[in-house]
Amino acid sequence: MSMLTTIVFLPLAAMLLCWVAPARLARVINVVACSAVMVLAVVLWIQLDPALSGYQFVQTASWLPGVVSEQGIQYYVGLDGIGLALVLLTAFVSLTAAIASWNVEKQVRGYHMMFLLLLTGMLGVFVALDLFLFYVFWEVMLLPMYFLIGIWGGPRRQYAAIKFFLYTLFGSVLLLAGVILVVLKTGSWSIPEITELAKAAVASGGDGGILGSASLCLAAFIGMFIGFAVKIPSFPFHTWLPDAHVEAPTPISMILAGVLLKMGGYGLIRVAYPFFPQAAVDCGAVISVLSAIAIVYGAFVAMAQTDFKRMIAYSSVSHMGFVTLGLAAGTETAINGAMYMMLAHGTISAMLFMIVGVIYERAHHREIARFGGLAWVMPKYFVFASIAFFASLGLPGGSGFVAEITTFVGAFDGPHRLWAIVSLLGVVITAAYYLRTLQRVYLLETPEVYKDTSAYPDLSVREWVVLAPLALVTIYMGILPATVMDIYKSVVHETLVPLLSAAGSRFGG
C-alpha cells in the first residue's frame, strides 16, 4: 500500500479504533494518529524530489471503471510540491489541534472520531487526482465539520453549523456542475489528464478551451470559482466564516482557519486555474478587484469588531484575499506568494485562534473591551500573542511578511497593478487593528478581575505544546522562506505559469 493511501486512511483506521476503544483513550488515539500522520508527512517531504514537477507516489486502482470513459472513475492519488506543502500544513495544524483538544469533555469519543474523519477528508482532498475522488473527499469533510461545530460549538452552534453547511454546499454544487461539464466534454476524470488537455487547448491557439466553447469555459470557471471562493472565503461569500469560527470550539477553529480555508485556494490552483486558464485570465480583473476589496474591507470590518474571535476571523478574510490576488495576477512570483500566504496564514491563524481559546477558557468571554493588562498577569502568553500578532501583520521575521511582500511584488508585476496597490492599504489597517487589540487586551492597567492568578494562570503545558511549535514554524518560515518555497516552486513554474502566461499572452492579458 502506498504512502499516500496510508497517510490518508490512517486517521480513518484510528477513528474505527476510537469506536471500539474505551472513551478515555480516544484523545490518546487521536494525538497518536495525528503524530503518525505528521511523521509520514515529513517522510514524504524527505522523499519527494522537488526538482520533478510531476506527481510522485502515484497510486491508481480501478474503482468505478466505465463511468463516462473507458477507464472511468479511479482511485487515483498522487503528490506534487503543492500537495505536499498543504499535506504538511494539514498534518501540522491537525497535530496541534489534536493536542489542543486534549481537554474536551463532552462526548469525548464522538469528538475525536469526527476529528479523525475530518483529517482523512482534508488529507484526501490534497492527494486526490481523480475529480470524483476529489469531490468525494471535499464533501466528506463537510459532514464531520457540521457535527463538530453543531455539537461541540458555542451557544448559537446550530445556526452556525447549518449556515456553514448551506454555504459550502452551495459552493459545492456549483463546483459539481463544473466537474460534470468538464468530465462530460473531456471524457476523463483524471486531473492530470485534463490539465494536459487544457495545455494542448491553449497551445492549439483555439479559444474553445477544454469544453470546446469559450463561453461554456467561462461559465464553468465561474461556477468552480464561486465553489472554491466560498471555502476561501473570498468576498462576498465570506459571511459564513465569522459565525462558524465564533461558534466552533477552539481546536476546530484552528483547523477551520488553518486548513479548510486553504482547500479553496488549493482547488483554484489545482483545478479551476489549470482547467480554464483562458477564462481565468479573462476573469483576472474581476478577481483582483474582489481580492482588493476582501483585503481592505476585511481589515476594516475586523477593526470594528468587539469580539476577539470575530476580529481574527475577519483578519482571515483579509489575509486570504492575498491568495486570490496573487492567483489573479498570474505571475510566477505572485502565485508563489499566494501559495506561501496559504501556508503562512495556516500556521499563524491556527496560533491566533489558540490564543483566543486560551483566554476564553479562563475568562469565559471574548469581549475585547472587557480585557486589559493580561500581559502583566500572563507574560508567557503575551509573548506568544505578540509573536502571532506581529507575524500576522506582516513584520519581517514572521512568515506573513514573506507571503505579503512576495504576493505584492508579483501582483504588481501582473496585469492588474492598480488593485495590488489598493490592497497595500490593507497593510496599514491590519497594523491598526492588531495594535489596538494588543493594547486593549494585553496592555494598560489590569482590571481587578484578572489579577487573581489562580483563575488566570499562565500557559498550561498543553497550551505551551500547542503554541510553541506554531510560533517556531512561523518564525522559521519568516527567516528561511526558501526552504519552504522550494517545496512547490518548481510545480508552479512548470505547470501553472506556462498555462496562464500562454493564455494571457494570446489575448494580451
Binding site: K163, P236, V301, E332, T333, L395, F412, V428
Partner: protein, 658 residues
C-alpha cells in the same frame, strides 16, 4: 582573506547584540544587574568590531566599497533573486560606529537610569534587539534586506516607546509611532514592487544601474523615489508624518536618546543618502523642500514647548529636516555628516536631559527647574556643549561644520531654501539657549525640585563626558574624503546641475559661512538676552506674539487635523462596513421577511437569518414561498382539485399560445 576578516567582524557586530537579546529575554530576570552589564559588554564588543571595520576602511583608502555575500534568501520566481548581503563602504562604517557607540553609551547610562524598574531586564533586551535591527539595516546591501531591518527597528521602537505600557499615554504614543511609520512604509513597499518588477534584484548597485539605464519605465522611477522618501519621512519624522516623534518621548529617556535622536530616526536620512543615485531631480527637489520646511516649522513649534524632552524632540525633527535639505540640494556629504554630528550632540543632550530628569525625580517641565547648574555641574556643562554644537558655534563644535555645509549647499542651489534654512538656524540657537537657560541658569523656580536635585551617578555622567568630547573633536573629520565619501554612482550634477559644484567651493568660505555663524551666535545671544538677562520683562516681550505662541504651542494643530481627517473617518468607515457586513441590504431582507410569511416556530429564530445579507434574503424568500405553499396546503380537497385543474387549464392555454 581580507574579506573573510571583514565578514567575521560584521558577523560579530550583528551576533553580539542578538545573543544579548536572547539571553536577556530568556534569563533576564535571573541575571538582574549582571544581565544589564552583560548587554553593555556585548554592545562594547560590536562597538570594538565596528571600530576595527572603520580602521580597515581607512587603511583601505579611497573608494573603499566591499560587498560580502550575497547569500540567497528567496527566489520567488520569474528569475528574480532576493538575496541578503552586506555592503561595507564609508557610509556604512560611519553608521556602524555611530550606532554601536551611541548604543553602548546609552546601555551604560541606562544601567543606572533604569534602576529599580520592574521590567529592568526587558529594557536591555529590547535595547539589544534594537541595536541588532539597526545594524542589520545599516549593513544591508539591498533594499529588501534593508527593509527587514527597517521594520524591525520599527517594532523595537514600538516596544520601547510603550515600555511603560501600563499607562495609556505610552501605549498610544507607541501605536501612533508604529502606524505613522507604517504609512510611510507603504511608499517603500511600492518602491520595492516597482524595483522587483523591473529590476528583479534589490541589490543597490543593480538598482542604480537599472535606474541609470532607464530600465524602470517613466512614471515608476519617480514614484519609487517618492515612495522611498515617503518611507524616510515616516521614519525621520518629516512633515507631514512628524507627529509621532514628540509623542515618542513618552518612552524612557535613554530610548529617546538612542532611537529617537541618534539612530533610528536617522535611518530615513541614511536611506535617502543610500539611494540618492536613483532619485530623480524632481524627487530631490521634494526632499529638499520638505526638509527645509520641516526644519523651520519644527523650530517654531519648539519655541513654545515647556517639556524639556519635547523641545529636544522638535529640535531633532528640525535637525533631520536640515539633513534632508542637505541631501536634497546635493550637499550629500554635508547632510550625512550632519547626521553623524547630530547623533552625538543630540544623544548628549537627551542623556543630559535624562540626567536632569533623573536628578529631579522625573520632573520634565522646564518651568519648574532653573539654577540646576550648581546642583549638577557635569550635566550642565556637557549640555551647554551640546547647545553650542547644535547652534553651530564656529570652529570649536562639529555642528558648525555640518550645518554650514548644508547651508552653503542650499545657498548654491536655491536662495529660498537657504533663507529658510538660515531662519531655522537662528531659531535653533534661540530655543536651545532658552532650554539651557530655563533649566540650568537663573534662580530655582521650584524650591522642592531644586532641593532634591542631585548630580547623577558616574555611570550616567561618564557617557555624557564621552559624548561631549566627541561632539567637540569630530568637527575636523568633516571633510575626510574616505569616510562618508559620496558613493561613486552619485552624480550631483544630475541633480542640480553645475550649481552644486559651486556649493562645494562655497562650503566654508564667504558670505554663507558668516551668515551661518551670525545666525548661530546671534540666536544664542538673543536667547541669553531674552531668557536670562531680561527675563523679568519676558512676559512683556512675549505679549505681541501671544497669538503666534498659541499656534506654536498647539503644534499647528497637526494631531487635531489628522484625528479629524483620518482617524475618525476610518473608525466610522470600519463601523459602517461592519454594519453592512452583518446585514447587507438589511432593508431588503426585512422587507422580504415581512412580505414572506413569517418563519414557523419549528424553524426557529435562526430561520429568519439563515444566511447573511443577500444570501439571507434568499433564505427569506425560500421561507416565504415555503410558507405560502404550505398555506395553500389548507387541507381542503376541493381547493386542491380546483388548483390542480386550474393549473392544468393554464398549461393548456400556454401550450396553445406558445
Amino acid at each position: 582573506m581580507f574579506d573573510d576578516w571583514l565578514l567575521h567582524l560584521c558577523l560579530i557586530v550583528l551576533a553580539a547584540p542578538l545573543a544579548g537579546f536572547c539571553v536577556q529575554y530568556v534569563w533576564g530576570r535571573r541575571l538582574g544587574a549582571a544581565g544589564a552589564w552583560l548587554t553593555c559588554v556585548t554592545m562594547f564588543l560590536s562597538l570594538a568590531c565596528s571600530v576595527l571595520l572603520g580602521v580597515a576602511a581607512l587603511s583601505a583608502g579611497a573608494g573603499f566599497d566591499v560587498h560580502l555575500g550575497p547569500w540567497s534568501w528567496l527566489e520567488p520566481g520569474d528569475g528574480a533573486a532576493w538575496n541578503i548581503g552586506i555592503r561595507l563602504d564609508g557610509l556604512t562604517v560611519v553608521m556602524l560606529v555611530v550606532v554601536t557607540l551611541v548604543s553602548f553609551l546609552v546601555h551604560v547610562f541606562s544601567t543606572r537610569y533604569m534602576e529599580g524598574d520592574a521590567k529592568y531586564p526587558l529594557f536591555f533586551a529590547w535595547l539589544q534587539m534594537f541595536s541588532f535591527s539597526m545594524l542589520v539595516l545599516v549593513l544591508a546591501d539591498n533594499l529588501l534586506h534593508l527593509f527587514m531591518g527597517w521594520e524591525l527597528v520599527g517594532l523595537c521602537s514600538y516596544k520601547l516607546i510603550g515600555f511603560w505600557s501600563e499607562k495609556p499615554a505610552p501605549c498610544l504614543a507607541a501605536r501612533k509611532a508604529f502606524i505613522t511609520t507604517r504609512i510611510g512604509d507603504l511608499g517603500m513597499m511600492i518602491a520595492l514592487c516597482a524595483i522587483g518588477t523591473w529590476v528583479g534584484s534589490f541589490e543597490f548597485d543593480a538598482v542604480f544601474a537599472a535606474a541609470a539605464a532607464g530600465e524602470i519605465p517613466d512614471p515608476w522611477l519617480l514614484i519609487a523615489g517618492l515612495g522611498l522618501f515617503l518611507a524616510a519621512a515616516g521614519k525621520s519624522a518629516q512633515l507631514p508624518l512628524h507627529v509621532w516623534l514628540p509623542d515618542a518621548m513618552e518612552g524612557p529617556t535613554p530610548v529617546s536618546a538612542l532611537i529617537h535622536a541618534a539612530t533610528m530616526v536617522a535611518a530615513g536620512v541614511y536611506l535617502v543618502g543610500r539611494c540618492a543615485p536613483m532619485l530623480t531631480p524632481d524627487v530631490l527637489v521634494v526632499v529638499a523642500t520638505v526638509g527645509a520646511v520641516t526644519a523651520l516649522v519644527a523650530g517654531l513649534i519648539a519655541l513654545a514647548q515647556n517639556d524639556i524632552k519635547r523641545v529636544l524632540a522638535y529640535s531633532t525633527v528640525s535637525q533631520l529636516g536640515y539633513m534632508f535639505l542637505g541631501l536634497g540640494v546635493g550637499a550629500w556629504h554635508a547632510g550625512l555628516f550632519h547626521l553623524t554630528t547630530h547623533a552625538f550632540f543630540k544623544a548628549l543632550m537627551f542623556l543630559g536631559s535624562g540626567s536632569v530628569i533623573h536628578g529631579c525625580h522625573h520632573e520634565q517641565d522646564m518651568r519648574r527647574m532653573g539654577g540646576l547648574r550648581r546642583k549638577m555641574p557635569i550635566t550642565a556643562w556637557t549640555f551647554l556643549i551640546g547647545v553650542l554644537a547644535i547652534a553651530g558655534v564656529p570652529w570649536i563644535t562639529s555642528g558648525f561644520f555640518s550645518k554650514d555645509g548644508i547651508l552653503s549647499g542650499a545657498y548654491g542651489v536655491s536662495p529660498v531654501l537657504f533663507w529658510i534654512g538660515l531662519g531655522g538656524a537662528v531659531l535653533t540657537a534661540f530655543y536651545m539657549m532658552r532650554l539651557y537657560v530655563l533649566t540650568f541658569e537663573g534662580e530655582p523656580r521650584d524650591a522642592h525640585v531644586h532641593d532634591h536635585a542631585h548630580e547623577s551617578p558616574r555611570a550616567m555622567t561618564v557617557p555624557l563626558l564621552i559624548l561631549a568630547a566627541l561632539t567637540l573633536i569630530i568637527g575636523p573629520l568633516a571633510w575626510h574624503e574616505i569616510l562618508l565619501a559620496p558613493p561613486t554612482s552619485v552624480d550631483p550634477a544630475a541633480a542640480w546641475g553645475t550649481l552644486q559644484t559651486l556649493a562645494q567651493e562655497h562650503h566654508h568660505a564667504g558670505v554663507v559661512m558668516w551668515l551661518a555663524i551670525a545666525a548661530g551666535v546671534g540666536g544664542l545671544a538673543l536667547g541669553w538676552l531674552v531668557f536670562h538677562i531680561r527675563r523679568g520683562s519676558l512676559e512683556a516681550l512675549k505679549r505681541p506674539f501671544a497669538g503666534l505662541e498659541r499656534v506654536f504651542a498647539e503644534k499647528f494643530w497637526f494631531d487635531e487635523l489628522y484625528a479629524a481627517v483620518l482617524l475618525r473617518p476610518a473608525d466610522a468607515l470600519a463601523r459602517g462596513l461592519r454594519r453592512v457586513d452583518e446585514g447587507v441590504v438589511d432593508g431588503l431582507v426585512n422587507a422580504a421577511g415581512r412580505s414572506g410569511v413569517r418563519a414557523g416556530e419549528a424553524s426557529g429564530a435562526h430561520d429568519r437569518r439563515v444566511v447573511d445579507g443577500l444570501v439571507r434574503l434568499v433564505g427569506h424568500v425560500c421561507q416565504g414561498l415555503g410558507g405560502a405553499l404550505s398555506a395553500l396546503q389548507s387541507g381542503r380537497v376541493r381547493l386542491y382539485l380546483s388548483l390542480s385543474v386550474g393549473l392544468l387549464a393554464l398549461a393548456l392555454l400556454l401550450e396553445h399560445l406558445l
